[in-house]
Protein backbone atom coordinates (compact mmCIF):
# COMPACT_ATOMS: atom_id res chain seq x y z
CA UNK A 1 0.00 0.00 0.00
CA UNK A 2 3.00 2.32 -0.08
CA UNK A 3 2.32 3.60 -3.53
CA UNK A 4 2.07 2.42 -7.10
CA UNK A 5 4.81 0.38 -8.66
CA UNK A 6 5.70 -1.58 -11.75
CA UNK A 7 2.87 -4.08 -11.20
CA UNK A 8 0.11 -1.47 -11.34
CA UNK A 9 1.66 0.32 -14.29
CA UNK A 10 2.10 -2.94 -16.21
CA UNK A 11 -1.60 -3.67 -15.67
CA UNK A 12 -2.45 -0.24 -17.08
CA UNK A 13 -0.30 -0.90 -20.14
CA UNK A 14 -1.89 -4.31 -20.65
CA UNK A 15 -5.39 -2.76 -20.64
CA UNK A 16 -4.21 -0.05 -23.04
CA UNK A 17 -2.57 -2.47 -25.44
CA UNK A 18 -5.58 -4.75 -25.81
CA UNK A 19 -8.13 -1.93 -26.05
CA UNK A 20 -6.96 -0.40 -29.34
CA UNK A 21 -7.71 -1.97 -32.70
CA UNK A 22 -4.23 -1.36 -34.14
CA UNK A 23 -2.84 -4.03 -31.79
CA UNK A 24 -5.24 -6.65 -33.11
CA UNK A 25 -4.72 -5.72 -36.76
CA UNK A 26 -0.93 -5.69 -36.53
CA UNK A 27 -0.85 -8.97 -34.58
CA UNK A 28 -3.26 -10.66 -36.99
CA UNK A 29 -1.34 -9.21 -39.94
CA UNK A 30 1.88 -10.70 -38.59
CA UNK A 31 0.49 -14.21 -38.28
CA UNK A 32 -1.34 -14.08 -41.61
CA UNK A 33 1.66 -12.65 -43.48
CA UNK A 34 3.96 -15.32 -42.11
CA UNK A 35 1.50 -18.15 -42.74
CA UNK A 36 0.93 -16.95 -46.31
CA UNK A 37 4.65 -16.63 -46.97
CA UNK A 38 5.27 -20.10 -45.61
CA UNK A 39 2.49 -21.59 -47.73
CA UNK A 40 3.65 -19.67 -50.80
CA UNK A 41 7.19 -20.95 -50.40
CA UNK A 42 5.98 -24.52 -49.97
CA UNK A 43 3.75 -24.32 -53.05
CA UNK A 44 6.57 -22.81 -55.08
CA UNK A 45 8.84 -25.69 -54.25
CA UNK A 46 6.29 -28.43 -54.96
CA UNK A 47 7.25 -28.76 -58.62
CA UNK A 48 10.83 -27.62 -58.18
CA UNK A 49 13.68 -29.79 -59.47
CA UNK A 50 15.88 -30.97 -57.94
CA UNK A 51 13.65 -31.83 -54.99
CA UNK A 52 14.01 -29.20 -52.24
CA UNK A 53 15.69 -30.08 -48.94
CA UNK A 54 13.97 -29.84 -45.56
CA UNK A 55 16.27 -26.92 -44.66
CA UNK A 56 15.40 -25.04 -47.84
CA UNK A 57 11.69 -25.25 -47.10
CA UNK A 58 12.11 -24.29 -43.45
CA UNK A 59 14.51 -21.38 -44.07
CA UNK A 60 12.40 -19.83 -46.79
CA UNK A 61 9.06 -20.43 -45.11
CA UNK A 62 10.20 -18.20 -42.24
CA UNK A 63 10.99 -15.28 -44.55
CA UNK A 64 7.59 -13.70 -43.85
CA UNK A 65 9.48 -12.23 -40.90
CA UNK A 66 10.83 -9.58 -43.30
CA UNK A 67 7.37 -8.04 -43.39
CA UNK A 68 6.39 -9.11 -39.88
CA UNK A 69 9.31 -7.21 -38.32
CA UNK A 70 7.83 -3.98 -39.66
CA UNK A 71 4.33 -4.79 -38.41
CA UNK A 72 5.48 -5.67 -34.91
CA UNK A 73 8.03 -2.84 -34.89
CA UNK A 74 5.17 -0.48 -35.68
CA UNK A 75 3.09 -2.08 -32.92
CA UNK A 76 5.89 -1.36 -30.45
CA UNK A 77 6.36 2.21 -31.66
CA UNK A 78 2.60 2.90 -31.51
CA UNK A 79 2.42 1.99 -27.82
CA UNK A 80 4.42 5.19 -27.26
CA UNK A 81 3.72 7.45 -30.25
CA UNK A 82 -0.02 6.71 -30.21
CA UNK A 83 -0.08 8.40 -26.82
CA UNK A 84 1.89 11.44 -27.94
CA UNK A 85 -0.21 11.85 -31.05
CA UNK A 86 -3.50 11.81 -29.14
CA UNK A 87 -2.56 13.62 -25.93
CA UNK A 88 -3.10 10.41 -23.94
CA UNK A 89 0.49 10.74 -22.71
CA UNK A 90 -0.55 13.57 -20.38
CA UNK A 91 -3.20 11.35 -18.77
CA UNK A 92 -0.62 8.59 -18.45
CA UNK A 93 2.07 10.74 -16.86
CA UNK A 94 -0.45 12.41 -14.55
CA UNK A 95 -1.46 8.94 -13.33
CA UNK A 96 2.15 7.73 -13.18
CA UNK A 97 4.67 10.57 -12.78
CA UNK A 98 7.60 8.13 -12.73
CA UNK A 99 8.04 8.07 -16.49
CA UNK A 100 10.73 5.41 -16.63
CA UNK A 101 8.34 3.03 -14.87
CA UNK A 102 5.87 3.75 -17.69
CA UNK A 103 8.46 2.96 -20.36
CA UNK A 104 9.63 -0.16 -18.52
CA UNK A 105 6.01 -1.37 -18.32
CA UNK A 106 5.45 -0.62 -22.00
CA UNK A 107 8.60 -2.57 -22.88
CA UNK A 108 7.67 -5.52 -20.65
CA UNK A 109 4.04 -5.77 -21.78
CA UNK A 110 4.79 -4.96 -25.42
CA UNK A 111 7.77 -7.31 -25.44
CA UNK A 112 5.75 -10.14 -23.91
CA UNK A 113 2.82 -9.74 -26.28
CA UNK A 114 4.98 -9.42 -29.39
CA UNK A 115 7.04 -12.43 -28.33
CA UNK A 116 3.84 -14.48 -28.19
CA UNK A 117 2.64 -13.05 -31.52
CA UNK A 118 6.09 -13.46 -33.08
CA UNK A 119 6.26 -17.11 -32.03
CA UNK A 120 2.72 -17.69 -33.32
CA UNK A 121 3.68 -16.09 -36.63
CA UNK A 122 6.87 -18.08 -36.84
CA UNK A 123 4.99 -21.30 -36.16
CA UNK A 124 2.38 -20.31 -38.73
CA UNK A 125 5.15 -19.79 -41.31
CA UNK A 126 6.61 -23.19 -40.57
CA UNK A 127 3.16 -24.82 -40.63
CA UNK A 128 2.22 -23.10 -43.89
CA UNK A 129 5.38 -24.42 -45.52
CA UNK A 130 4.92 -27.95 -44.20
CA UNK A 131 1.25 -28.17 -45.20
CA UNK A 132 2.01 -26.89 -48.68
CA UNK A 133 4.52 -29.63 -49.35
CA UNK A 134 2.33 -32.42 -47.96
CA UNK A 135 2.09 -35.38 -50.30
CA UNK A 136 5.27 -34.56 -52.20
CA UNK A 137 8.70 -36.18 -52.05
CA UNK A 138 10.10 -33.11 -50.21
CA UNK A 139 11.29 -34.15 -46.73
CA UNK A 140 9.42 -32.57 -43.80
CA UNK A 141 11.06 -30.53 -41.02
CA UNK A 142 9.49 -31.78 -37.78
CA UNK A 143 9.83 -29.44 -34.78
CA UNK A 144 10.83 -32.29 -32.46
CA UNK A 145 14.20 -31.88 -34.16
CA UNK A 146 16.07 -29.05 -32.39
CA UNK A 147 17.72 -27.98 -35.65
CA UNK A 148 14.25 -27.15 -36.95
CA UNK A 149 12.74 -25.84 -33.73
CA UNK A 150 15.61 -23.44 -33.02
CA UNK A 151 15.11 -21.10 -36.04
CA UNK A 152 11.35 -21.08 -35.40
CA UNK A 153 11.86 -19.99 -31.78
CA UNK A 154 14.65 -17.49 -32.54
CA UNK A 155 12.59 -15.84 -35.27
CA UNK A 156 9.93 -15.17 -32.63
CA UNK A 157 12.61 -13.65 -30.39
CA UNK A 158 13.90 -11.52 -33.28
CA UNK A 159 10.40 -10.17 -33.93
CA UNK A 160 9.88 -9.27 -30.25
CA UNK A 161 13.24 -7.49 -30.30
CA UNK A 162 12.20 -5.38 -33.30
CA UNK A 163 9.02 -4.44 -31.40
CA UNK A 164 11.18 -3.27 -28.47
CA UNK A 165 13.39 -1.28 -30.84
CA UNK A 166 10.08 0.25 -31.95
CA UNK A 167 9.22 1.16 -28.34
CA UNK A 168 12.61 2.85 -27.91
CA UNK A 169 12.44 4.67 -31.24
CA UNK A 170 8.89 5.77 -30.40
CA UNK A 171 10.08 7.29 -27.12
CA UNK A 172 12.90 9.05 -28.97
CA UNK A 173 10.94 10.68 -31.80
CA UNK A 174 7.38 10.75 -30.27
CA UNK A 175 5.68 10.77 -33.67
CA UNK A 176 4.11 7.71 -35.30
CA UNK A 177 5.14 8.47 -38.90
CA UNK A 178 8.67 9.45 -37.97
CA UNK A 179 9.05 6.41 -35.72
CA UNK A 180 7.91 3.91 -38.37
CA UNK A 181 10.10 5.63 -40.97
CA UNK A 182 13.14 5.52 -38.71
CA UNK A 183 12.42 1.91 -37.83
CA UNK A 184 12.21 1.02 -41.53
CA UNK A 185 15.55 2.77 -42.11
CA UNK A 186 17.22 1.01 -39.18
CA UNK A 187 16.02 -2.41 -40.29
CA UNK A 188 16.67 -2.16 -44.04
CA UNK A 189 19.26 0.47 -44.91
CA UNK A 190 22.21 -1.17 -43.09
CA UNK A 191 21.80 -4.36 -45.13
CA UNK A 192 22.30 -2.37 -48.36
CA UNK A 193 25.19 -0.41 -46.87
CA UNK A 194 27.07 -3.62 -46.09
CA UNK A 195 27.82 -3.97 -49.81
CA UNK A 196 30.06 -0.90 -49.56
CA UNK A 197 32.46 -2.77 -47.34
CA UNK A 198 33.41 -5.27 -50.06
CA UNK A 199 35.59 -8.08 -48.75
CA UNK A 200 35.04 -7.22 -45.09
CA UNK A 201 31.25 -7.04 -45.62
CA UNK A 202 30.57 -10.19 -43.62
CA UNK A 203 32.44 -8.85 -40.58
CA UNK A 204 30.01 -5.91 -40.58
CA UNK A 205 27.02 -7.82 -41.91
CA UNK A 206 26.86 -10.19 -38.98
CA UNK A 207 25.72 -7.24 -36.87
CA UNK A 208 23.06 -6.07 -39.33
CA UNK A 209 19.47 -7.01 -38.33
CA UNK A 210 18.04 -8.11 -41.67
CA UNK A 211 21.17 -10.11 -42.60
CA UNK A 212 21.17 -11.78 -39.19
CA UNK A 213 17.53 -12.70 -39.66
CA UNK A 214 17.93 -14.18 -43.14
CA UNK A 215 21.29 -15.86 -42.73
CA UNK A 216 21.66 -16.74 -39.07
CA UNK A 217 18.47 -16.55 -37.01
CA UNK A 218 15.75 -17.94 -39.29
CA UNK A 219 17.88 -20.69 -40.84
CA UNK A 220 18.86 -24.20 -39.75
CA UNK A 221 22.59 -23.42 -40.02
CA UNK A 222 24.09 -19.92 -40.28
CA UNK A 223 25.92 -18.68 -43.35
CA UNK A 224 29.73 -18.76 -43.10
CA UNK A 225 31.08 -15.76 -41.18
CA UNK A 226 27.85 -15.02 -39.34
CA UNK A 227 27.17 -15.68 -35.68
CA UNK A 228 25.26 -18.71 -34.47
CA UNK A 229 21.53 -18.06 -34.42
CA UNK A 230 21.26 -17.57 -30.67
CA UNK A 231 24.18 -15.10 -30.66
CA UNK A 232 22.52 -13.05 -33.39
CA UNK A 233 19.27 -13.10 -31.39
CA UNK A 234 21.19 -11.82 -28.38
CA UNK A 235 22.72 -9.03 -30.50
CA UNK A 236 19.16 -8.03 -31.48
CA UNK A 237 18.11 -8.02 -27.83
CA UNK A 238 21.12 -5.80 -27.13
CA UNK A 239 19.96 -3.33 -29.79
CA UNK A 240 16.49 -3.39 -28.23
CA UNK A 241 17.92 -2.66 -24.78
CA UNK A 242 19.96 0.26 -26.13
CA UNK A 243 16.92 1.72 -27.93
CA UNK A 244 14.70 1.49 -24.84
CA UNK A 245 17.42 2.96 -22.59
CA UNK A 246 17.97 5.89 -24.96
CA UNK A 247 14.22 6.53 -24.91
CA UNK A 248 14.21 6.37 -21.10
CA UNK A 249 16.99 8.96 -20.79
CA UNK A 250 15.18 11.48 -23.01
CA UNK A 251 11.72 10.79 -21.57
CA UNK A 252 12.75 11.91 -18.13
CA UNK A 253 13.54 15.53 -18.84
CA UNK A 254 11.19 16.47 -21.63
CA UNK A 255 7.97 18.35 -21.03
CA UNK A 256 4.97 16.16 -21.82
Amino acid sequence: MNGYGFRQVARMEWVKLRSVRSTRWLAAGTVVAMAATGAGVGLGYRWHTPVATAAQILNNSLSGAILAQLLLGALGALTVTGEYGSGMIRSTFAAVPRRRTVLAAKAAVGGGVTLAVGLAGSLAGWLGGQLAIAGTAIPTAPLVDWTNLRPVLLTGVYLAATALIGVGVGALVRHSGAAVGLLFALLFVPSFAVGLFGESGVAVGRFVPLLMLLNSIAVTSPMAGLFAGWVSALVMCGYAAVAVLCGAVLLRHRDA
Binding site: Y4, Q8, A95, P97
Partner: protein, 241 residues
Protein backbone atom coordinates in the same frame (compact mmCIF):
# COMPACT_ATOMS: atom_id res chain seq x y z
CA UNK B 1 -4.04 22.46 -0.49
CA UNK B 2 -2.05 23.57 -3.52
CA UNK B 3 0.92 25.83 -2.96
CA UNK B 4 2.93 27.57 -5.67
CA UNK B 5 6.26 29.02 -4.61
CA UNK B 6 8.10 31.34 -6.99
CA UNK B 7 6.86 29.09 -9.80
CA UNK B 8 8.54 30.12 -13.07
CA UNK B 9 8.56 28.72 -16.63
CA UNK B 10 10.41 30.14 -19.62
CA UNK B 11 10.12 29.14 -23.27
CA UNK B 12 13.26 30.58 -24.84
CA UNK B 13 13.31 34.21 -23.74
CA UNK B 14 9.53 34.36 -23.27
CA UNK B 15 8.46 34.03 -19.65
CA UNK B 16 5.22 32.03 -19.55
CA UNK B 17 4.89 31.90 -15.78
CA UNK B 18 6.69 34.48 -13.70
CA UNK B 19 7.45 33.89 -9.99
CA UNK B 20 3.95 32.84 -9.08
CA UNK B 21 3.20 32.62 -5.35
CA UNK B 22 -0.29 31.29 -4.67
CA UNK B 23 -2.04 29.17 -2.06
CA UNK B 24 -5.23 27.42 -3.07
CA UNK B 25 -7.29 26.55 0.00
CA UNK B 26 -9.60 23.58 0.50
CA UNK B 27 -13.34 23.94 1.00
CA UNK B 28 -13.93 26.56 -1.68
CA UNK B 29 -13.91 26.72 -5.46
CA UNK B 30 -10.96 28.83 -6.59
CA UNK B 31 -11.25 30.34 -10.04
CA UNK B 32 -8.01 30.67 -11.95
CA UNK B 33 -8.51 33.54 -14.36
CA UNK B 34 -6.51 35.26 -17.04
CA UNK B 35 -6.63 36.23 -20.71
CA UNK B 36 -5.62 33.75 -23.43
CA UNK B 37 -1.94 32.93 -23.15
CA UNK B 38 -1.60 34.24 -19.61
CA UNK B 39 0.03 31.02 -18.35
CA UNK B 40 -2.94 29.22 -16.76
CA UNK B 41 -2.46 25.92 -18.58
CA UNK B 42 1.32 26.01 -18.17
CA UNK B 43 0.86 26.52 -14.43
CA UNK B 44 -1.53 23.57 -14.25
CA UNK B 45 0.85 21.35 -16.21
CA UNK B 46 3.65 22.25 -13.79
CA UNK B 47 1.45 21.43 -10.78
CA UNK B 48 0.96 17.96 -12.34
CA UNK B 49 4.65 17.47 -13.04
CA UNK B 50 4.06 17.34 -16.81
CA UNK B 51 6.23 20.39 -17.43
CA UNK B 52 9.31 21.08 -15.32
CA UNK B 53 9.52 24.58 -13.79
CA UNK B 54 12.68 26.58 -14.47
CA UNK B 55 12.51 27.95 -10.95
CA UNK B 56 10.39 27.49 -7.86
CA UNK B 57 8.06 24.63 -7.06
CA UNK B 58 4.45 23.52 -6.92
CA UNK B 59 3.37 21.47 -3.90
CA UNK B 60 0.26 19.41 -3.21
CA UNK B 61 -0.33 19.01 0.52
CA UNK B 62 3.35 19.89 1.01
CA UNK B 63 4.90 17.48 -1.51
CA UNK B 64 5.75 17.74 -5.22
CA UNK B 65 3.32 15.88 -7.49
CA UNK B 66 5.96 13.34 -8.52
CA UNK B 67 6.33 12.20 -4.90
CA UNK B 68 2.65 11.30 -4.42
CA UNK B 69 2.15 7.60 -3.61
CA UNK B 70 -1.13 7.31 -5.52
CA UNK B 71 -1.37 10.43 -7.70
CA UNK B 72 -4.91 9.85 -8.98
CA UNK B 73 -6.23 9.32 -5.47
CA UNK B 74 -4.75 12.64 -4.31
CA UNK B 75 -5.23 14.86 -7.35
CA UNK B 76 -7.78 14.65 -10.13
CA UNK B 77 -7.10 16.68 -13.24
CA UNK B 78 -8.93 17.67 -16.39
CA UNK B 79 -6.23 19.13 -18.60
CA UNK B 80 -7.79 19.26 -22.00
CA UNK B 81 -10.61 17.40 -23.69
CA UNK B 82 -8.24 15.36 -25.84
CA UNK B 83 -6.04 13.55 -23.36
CA UNK B 84 -7.22 10.11 -24.50
CA UNK B 85 -6.58 7.73 -27.39
CA UNK B 86 -9.43 8.17 -29.92
CA UNK B 87 -9.52 4.45 -30.71
CA UNK B 88 -10.06 3.36 -27.13
CA UNK B 89 -13.51 3.28 -25.50
CA UNK B 90 -14.25 5.62 -22.62
CA UNK B 91 -14.62 2.58 -20.40
CA UNK B 92 -11.22 1.13 -21.36
CA UNK B 93 -9.60 4.56 -20.95
CA UNK B 94 -10.87 4.80 -17.37
CA UNK B 95 -10.10 1.13 -16.64
CA UNK B 96 -6.47 1.57 -17.73
CA UNK B 97 -5.95 4.67 -15.61
CA UNK B 98 -7.71 3.05 -12.64
CA UNK B 99 -5.36 0.05 -12.86
CA UNK B 100 -2.29 2.28 -12.53
CA UNK B 101 -3.41 3.51 -9.11
CA UNK B 102 -5.12 0.35 -7.80
CA UNK B 103 -8.52 2.00 -8.05
CA UNK B 104 -11.32 -0.62 -7.98
CA UNK B 105 -13.31 -1.24 -11.17
CA UNK B 106 -16.50 -0.22 -9.36
CA UNK B 107 -15.20 3.39 -9.38
CA UNK B 108 -15.10 3.29 -13.20
CA UNK B 109 -18.82 2.47 -13.37
CA UNK B 110 -19.52 5.03 -10.66
CA UNK B 111 -17.78 7.98 -12.36
CA UNK B 112 -19.31 7.02 -15.72
CA UNK B 113 -22.73 7.38 -14.07
CA UNK B 114 -21.76 10.65 -12.38
CA UNK B 115 -20.75 12.25 -15.70
CA UNK B 116 -23.62 10.64 -17.61
CA UNK B 117 -21.54 8.55 -20.02
CA UNK B 118 -22.66 5.06 -18.97
CA UNK B 119 -24.56 4.51 -22.23
CA UNK B 120 -21.65 5.67 -24.40
CA UNK B 121 -18.93 3.96 -22.35
CA UNK B 122 -18.20 1.17 -24.82
CA UNK B 123 -18.02 3.48 -27.84
CA UNK B 124 -14.65 4.62 -29.12
CA UNK B 125 -13.86 7.95 -27.47
CA UNK B 126 -12.90 9.43 -30.84
CA UNK B 127 -16.60 9.38 -31.77
CA UNK B 128 -17.59 11.53 -28.76
CA UNK B 129 -18.83 15.09 -29.13
CA UNK B 130 -16.79 17.87 -27.50
CA UNK B 131 -19.18 17.92 -24.55
CA UNK B 132 -18.83 14.16 -24.09
CA UNK B 133 -15.03 14.47 -24.23
CA UNK B 134 -15.17 17.03 -21.45
CA UNK B 135 -17.36 14.65 -19.46
CA UNK B 136 -14.84 11.83 -19.98
CA UNK B 137 -12.10 14.19 -18.74
CA UNK B 138 -14.16 15.01 -15.67
CA UNK B 139 -14.67 11.27 -15.09
CA UNK B 140 -10.88 10.81 -15.11
CA UNK B 141 -10.51 13.66 -12.61
CA UNK B 142 -13.08 12.08 -10.27
CA UNK B 143 -11.78 8.52 -10.73
CA UNK B 144 -9.58 8.33 -7.63
CA UNK B 145 -12.01 10.27 -5.39
CA UNK B 146 -9.22 12.85 -4.88
CA UNK B 147 -9.02 15.61 -2.31
CA UNK B 148 -7.61 18.05 -4.84
CA UNK B 149 -9.17 18.80 -8.23
CA UNK B 150 -7.62 20.77 -11.08
CA UNK B 151 -9.78 21.56 -14.07
CA UNK B 152 -8.55 23.51 -17.06
CA UNK B 153 -11.45 25.21 -18.87
CA UNK B 154 -14.00 22.51 -17.97
CA UNK B 155 -17.01 24.31 -19.47
CA UNK B 156 -15.51 24.52 -22.99
CA UNK B 157 -17.87 22.80 -25.38
CA UNK B 158 -20.56 22.07 -22.82
CA UNK B 159 -24.19 22.97 -23.42
CA UNK B 160 -26.10 25.09 -20.86
CA UNK B 161 -27.26 21.97 -19.05
CA UNK B 162 -23.66 20.72 -18.91
CA UNK B 163 -22.36 24.06 -17.67
CA UNK B 164 -24.85 24.09 -14.82
CA UNK B 165 -24.02 20.46 -14.04
CA UNK B 166 -20.26 21.24 -13.83
CA UNK B 167 -20.97 24.28 -11.66
CA UNK B 168 -23.03 22.28 -9.16
CA UNK B 169 -20.57 19.41 -9.23
CA UNK B 170 -17.61 21.67 -8.42
CA UNK B 171 -19.45 23.51 -5.68
CA UNK B 172 -20.52 20.19 -4.18
CA UNK B 173 -16.94 18.86 -4.23
CA UNK B 174 -15.65 22.01 -2.52
CA UNK B 175 -18.42 21.80 0.08
CA UNK B 176 -17.10 18.32 0.95
CA UNK B 177 -13.83 20.00 1.94
CA UNK B 178 -11.87 19.37 -1.25
CA UNK B 179 -9.50 21.80 -2.90
CA UNK B 180 -10.92 22.83 -6.28
CA UNK B 181 -8.97 24.95 -8.77
CA UNK B 182 -10.79 25.77 -12.02
CA UNK B 183 -9.25 27.80 -14.80
CA UNK B 184 -11.28 29.87 -17.19
CA UNK B 185 -11.11 32.97 -19.29
CA UNK B 186 -14.85 33.46 -18.81
CA UNK B 187 -15.25 35.82 -15.88
CA UNK B 188 -19.04 35.65 -15.98
CA UNK B 189 -18.98 31.87 -15.59
CA UNK B 190 -16.43 32.09 -12.79
CA UNK B 191 -18.61 34.62 -10.98
CA UNK B 192 -21.27 31.92 -10.68
CA UNK B 193 -18.93 29.06 -9.77
CA UNK B 194 -15.98 30.36 -7.79
CA UNK B 195 -15.69 31.76 -4.30
CA UNK B 196 -12.12 32.91 -4.54
CA UNK B 197 -10.29 34.18 -7.61
CA UNK B 198 -6.66 34.02 -8.63
CA UNK B 199 -6.09 36.36 -11.57
CA UNK B 200 -2.92 36.21 -13.67
CA UNK B 201 -1.71 38.05 -16.75
CA UNK B 202 1.51 37.35 -18.69
CA UNK B 203 2.37 34.75 -16.09
CA UNK B 204 2.27 37.19 -13.19
CA UNK B 205 -0.13 37.26 -10.27
CA UNK B 206 -2.48 40.24 -10.69
CA UNK B 207 -4.89 39.59 -7.85
CA UNK B 208 -5.84 37.05 -5.23
CA UNK B 209 -9.31 38.05 -4.21
CA UNK B 210 -12.99 37.13 -3.92
CA UNK B 211 -15.67 37.69 -6.51
CA UNK B 212 -17.30 40.40 -4.35
CA UNK B 213 -14.03 42.25 -3.74
CA UNK B 214 -13.11 42.26 -7.41
CA UNK B 215 -16.51 43.59 -8.48
CA UNK B 216 -16.62 46.33 -5.82
CA UNK B 217 -16.39 49.81 -7.35
CA UNK B 218 -17.13 48.67 -10.91
CA UNK B 219 -20.36 48.48 -12.87
CA UNK B 220 -19.93 44.78 -13.61
CA UNK B 221 -17.52 42.02 -12.75
CA UNK B 222 -16.54 41.91 -16.42
CA UNK B 223 -15.52 45.58 -16.32
CA UNK B 224 -13.46 44.94 -13.21
CA UNK B 225 -11.74 41.94 -14.83
CA UNK B 226 -10.97 43.80 -18.06
CA UNK B 227 -9.60 46.78 -16.12
CA UNK B 228 -7.36 44.46 -14.13
CA UNK B 229 -6.04 42.45 -17.08
CA UNK B 230 -5.93 45.25 -19.70
CA UNK B 231 -2.18 45.91 -19.42
CA UNK B 232 -1.40 42.23 -19.95
CA UNK B 233 -3.78 41.38 -22.81
CA UNK B 234 -1.71 40.45 -25.86
CA UNK B 235 -4.23 40.00 -28.65
CA UNK B 236 -6.95 42.53 -29.09
CA UNK B 237 -9.47 42.79 -31.92
CA UNK B 238 -11.10 45.98 -33.17
CA UNK B 239 -14.59 46.81 -34.36
CA UNK B 240 -15.28 46.19 -38.03
CA UNK B 241 -16.39 49.72 -38.88
Amino acid sequence: MIELRELTKRYGDRVAVDRLNVRVQPGVVTGFLGPNGSGKSTTMRMILGLDAPDHGEALIGGVPYADLSWPLRSVGALLDAGAFHPGRSGHAHLTALAASNDIPASRVERVLRVVGLSDAATRRAGTYSLGMRQRLGVAVALLGDPGVLLLDEPVNGLDPEGIRWIRNLLRGLAAEGRTVLVSSHLITEMALTADRLVVIGRGRLLAETTVAELAAGHDTLEDAFLRLTAPTTDHRGTETS
